[in-house]
């Protein structure tokens, strides 16, 4: 049993932490989030220069060969800094699918630009009717003239408005809820028939509704096997679930620390409100949740890193825990800040909003508890 990280992992975590501390204060973050693009193109280039966009790709593909440990270390810091740059959609989601399914030609076509920071990407894994069921794919890909024609609608596509590359699951066979028959397509976002309506999200990120009307795809746009895309899709979403759970762990720890700091400084009735035992106990409750979540995060990361069969169970356990008890930390943090906790000006409100968005991403707490129960063979 070994909780230590390697020197390289430690350096990676430190470099992200330093970036947050020196270059990404709350004011900077807000300016970036409110810009037209919604993130900083300069900072994205910096991420590429520092190698962060390469971390999770194989060395053979120009990556750094990192895995879940590196990913969660980075994401925890991104949570601490409320980073809005599209690391999750481009690198973890779209990049994750490419890593698992792309052949040599496809890798050559997409990876250097993605890792180099010149290409933005998105994975369209949600449909309007789908809720959290990844297999709920009504978008069709009908075989035609040696290729395919795609029709359908994708919802809440993270980074969907800015992406140059769209990875789109579409059904080549089977019924709407079947896992078999889902094919993954790599589409250029400016392909004919693709319409995008981009918008901001509640957590200062960006997403889009995307409709596909007779969109042409060639057979070498197929990632992996025809009809066999679900496994890679699910595995990528599991990675992403682990990633946002780490981000959320970073968020709640930060919210907790800020709450303690605020309570010590806020004087009412002639004393700091941190001196009230009722609040002290609640701040301790928050701390215990943070520690339990951190522990579960470490466990789930180690399970994922070891590549065992129980990765899905571990990820669902973690996402459930984060959503279920992490929510209490987030709510308490706002409550203890009093009226200040619901102002736009103070950062605590924005931590709350990102945490809330993560609760929904890749499945609610209930969804993951159900999945955990199913997978544990009950």
């Amino acid at each position: 049993m070994d909780f230590s990280v390697t020197e390289e992992q430690s350096m990676l975590a430190d470099s992200v932490a330093r970036f947050i501390d020196h270059d990404y204060d709350f004011e900077t973050r807000q300016k970036v989030a409110e810009s037209e693009l919604g993130y900083s193109a300069d900072m994205w280039r910096t991420f590429a220069e520092l190698g962060w966009t390469a971390v999770t790709f194989d060395e053979a593909d120009g990556g750094l060969g990192g895995g879940p440990v590196e990913l969660t270390l980075m994401m925890e810091q991104f949570g601490r800094g409320l980073v809005v740059e599209p690391f999750l959609p481009s690198i973890v989601l779209a990049g994750g699918v490419l890593r698992r399914t792309a052949n040599a030609a496809q890798k050559e076509r997409w990876l250097p630009a993605l890792i180099g920071g010149e290409l933005q990407a998105a994975l369209a894994f949600v449909e309007p009717q789908g809720r959290f069921n990844l297999a709920d794919v009504a978008t069709t890909a009908a075989a035609k003239d040696g290729g395919y024609v795609l029709n359908g609608r994708k919802a809440i596509v993270l980074n969907g408005g800015d992406a140059n590359l769209l990875i789109v699951p579409a059904r080549t066979a089977g019924d709407q809820l079947d896992r078999d028959g889902i094919t993954l397509f790599a589409l250029s976002a400016d392909a004919g028939g693709i319409e995008r309506k981009a918008y901001r999200t509640i957590d200062a990120h960006r997403a889009a509704e995307i409709s596909l009307t007779n969109v042409r795809a060639e057979s070498d746009d197929v990632l992996g096997t025809v009809g066999g895309g679900f496994a890679a899709l699910q595995a990528t979403i599991d990675d992403a679930t682990l990633a946002v759970s780490a981000e959320a762990a970073g968020i709640i720890r930060t919210m907790h620390d800020k709450t303690v700091g605020y309570a010590k400084s806020r004087v009412q009735f002639g004393v700091p409100i941190s001196s009230f035992q009722a609040l002290q106990h609640r701040m301790v409750d928050m701390l215990m949740v943070c520690e339990q979540c951190r522990s579960l995060l470490l466990w789930a990361t180690m399970v994922a890193a070891s590549g065992g069969e129980d990765v899905q169970m571990a990820v669902s356990a973690l996402k459930y825990q984060i959503g279920n008890s992490g929510r209490l930390v987030a709510q308490e943090a706002v409550q203890i800040h009093g009226g200040m906790g619901v102002t736009w000006e103070l950062d605590i409100a924005h931590y709350f909003k990102r945490f809330t968005a993560i609760e929904t991403l890749f499945g609610s707490a209930d969804f993951h508890l159900d999945r955990f129960v199913e997978l544990s063979g009950a």
Partner: protein, 400 residues
């Protein structure tokens, strides 16, 4: 004991329903049902319609324009207004300052202020909280120094809801620091917002909304006639007001309406080919909130029944505030959960009158669910935070 309404009450309920059917404006109804914010004009227009019917101030003594209704009738009225999703009266004039004026003010003040409040000719806001005086309201620092014929007021009030619409502000101000208890130096002063030295600055809240403000008072000259009651008694007046005006604080009727909307939404929302409501987990969560809400409804009815036989509403009303706001917030969270991914888009521009509801991202008001959840975190903080309410219960009910 009888859980059913009397014949008399049922007739009354029909009367209220008929009024709402006939007089609740369709354009305001559309805005309310579509999650579109009402303008100041909308709110005044609706309030004037209630005034025309004689129903603008249901809790006032009849002599000042109240209805003389029984506690049950008031409950029925609140229920029906909420069931129609019609707006409540903006509370600051009719529910907060008016009772202080008619209870503690002099005849000139009653004549001068009450009719305009009743008719919604004048918009009032509340000047209580300060940056340094939240839960510890008695530590307020806004000073009112007595000069010959006026008070000179200096200070900053905060969290002033809809202060940017207001014509007048009622303030708790410090007229004396030379007192044994801080509360004894506080007075209740009425201030015309157009007086030189009054500045309103917006405070933007968590979802980007502008509802609350800071009100800066710099050398504002307030005529002594605007002091209500006696100097140094303002705290008492404010406390009496808070305890007395407790209808709607639990928000039971509103929460009932929202639960109904939540059920409808989760019947429409499909999850794995079935309505979300068929998901046992989700259905259980709804049921748990419904049961808690039923309990709260009866706690409120018990409180009203006690008032009806002449007992003053006491600290039990603090229970209503705590449980009422917890339930509201639980419902907010369930709406977010029901929306699934469609809780994520931030599209306030789609909640304007000229944006067709059918073209919104998602369906219905889903994309507003998270904004509501965020904004309503305030419910457990305002009105005396739930922590303060528990202190009140502890001290005055449990006598700890």
């Amino acid at each position: 004991m009888n859980v059913n309404y009397s014949e008399h009450d049922l007739v009354f309920r029909d009367e209220v329903r008929a009024f709402l059917r006939e007089k609740y404006p369709g354009d305001i109804r559309h805005k309310q049902d579509s999650g579109i914010a009402l303008s100041k004009d909308d709110m005044v227009r609706w309030q004037k319609i209630l005034y025309e019917r004689g129903w603008a101030a249901i809790n006032w003594p009849v002599e000042y324009g109240g209805t003389g209704w029984s506690a049950i009738q008031k409950h029925i009225f609140d229920d029906e207004v909420a069931a129609a999703n019609a707006p409540d009266m903006v509370p600051f004039g009719v529910k907060m300052v008016a009772p202080v004026i008619y209870t503690f003010g002099n005849e000139e003040q009653k004549v001068r202020f009450l009719p305009d409040i009743l008719m919604s000719n004048v918009w009032w806001c509340q000047g209580y909280s300060e940056p340094g005086a939240g839960s510890d309201l008695a530590s307020l620092k806004t000073r009112a120094d007595r000069r010959s014929d006026h008070y000179l007021v200096n200070g900053t009030k905060t969290w002033t809801t809809l202060g940017h619409f207001a014509d007048w502000i009622f303030c708790l101000v410090r007229t004396s620091s030379d007192v044994a208890r801080r509360q004894e130096g506080i007075s209740f002063l009425l201030i015309d917002m157009s007086t030189p030295g009054v500045t309103v600055k917006p405070i933007i809240t968590i979802g980007g909304e502008h509802e609350v403000n800071e009100v800066h008072l710099e050398n504002v000259e307030v005529p002594v006639e605007n002091l209500v009651g006696e100097e140094g008694k303002g705290w008492t007046y404010g406390k009496v007001l808070l305890q007395h005006e407790r209808t709607n604080i639990a928000g039971v009727a509103r929460s009932k309406y929202r639960m109904k909307r939540l059920r409808e939404t989760s019947m429409r929302r499909i999850h794995d080919g079935q309505p979300l409501l068929d998901d046992r987990n989700f259905a259980r969560k709804l049921a748990a909130v419904e049961i808690e809400l039923k309990a709260l409804e009866y706690t409120e009815l018990r409180t009203l029944a006690a008032v009806a036989v002449g007992k003053a509403p006491g600290p039990e009303s603090s229970i209503l505030k705590v449980k009422g706001t917890e339930i509201q917030q639980a419902i907010d969270a369930l709406f977010v959960e029901a929306a699934g991914y469609y809780a994520l888009p931030y599209v306030p521009e789609q909640y304007q009158v000229d944006f067709p509801v059918a073209e919104r991202v998602g369906f219905g008001n889903e994309t507003k669910s998270a904004l509501r959840y965020f904004n309503n975190r305030k419910a457990s903080i305002y009105g005396g935070s739930n922590e303060i309410q528990k202190n009140i219960i502890s001290k005055h009910v449990l006598r700890l």
